[in-house]
Amino acid sequence: EPEVTQTPSHQVTQMGQEVILRCVPISNHLYFYWYRQILGQKVEFLVSFYNNEISEKSEIFDDQFSVERPDGSNFTLKIRSTKLEDSAMYFCASSVREQYFGPGTRLTVT
């Protein structure tokens, strides 16, 4: 069964560093998403991407975040200058109708 994959599974970085989180959505899906979940809290929407551009973004998705689909399969989330409060689990998802989530990348900012 096709699935969304994410790398790395865990990323530790120092405050102020740039990180890139990578995702491979399900191949015939059209919509791609990034969500995050701070430990013990609910899952929050960051951004959605369709037809090679951002279709929606939340208040969380400020100028330090960017997304890209550099080729036909990968979908990336870049955080330019990480802060302590960016520590969270980041989920990629893709959909035609129902959304399927990847296993997540646990980002720890020290």
């Binding site: 899952v43 989920f91 296993p103």
Partner: protein, 109 residues
């Protein structure tokens, strides 16, 4: 965006017991989904249920879109059912999902 309330927030069950989890929505329900977050943090799709009733083994779900709620039934619970259950719905005119705060289920042997 849409507000999603889940109840109860925590639930402890003896193995073999049945349970009902509930989601209430502040606005029209669109493309409602139920997820199980396992101890490793993975979000496992349980149901895509914008309306009506579906069953999958010991789990079933019902969404009454006109009354803005959904229910997840777990029968004959097992220890592997432990974890956090989330419901999520799209808002009006949006593709992204709005999640509830979850129900943490603990099944004890």
């Amino acid at each position: 965006g849409i507000q999603v309330e889940q109840s109860p927030p925590d639930l402890i069950l003896q193995e073999g017991a049945n349970s009902t989890l509930r989601c209430n929505f502040s606005d029209s329900v669109n493309n409602l989904q139920w997820f199980h977050q396992n101890p490793w943090g993975q979000l496992i799709n349980l149901f895509y249920i914008p309306s009506g009733t579906k069953q999958n083994g010991r789990l079933s779900a019902t969404t009454v879109a006109t009354e803005r709620y959904s229910l997840l039934y777990i029968s004959s619970s097992q220890t592997t059912d432990s974890g956090v259950y989330f419901c999520a719905s799209r808002g009006s005119g949006a593709n992204n999902l709005f999640f509830g705060t979850g129900t943490r289920l603990t099944v004890i042997p």
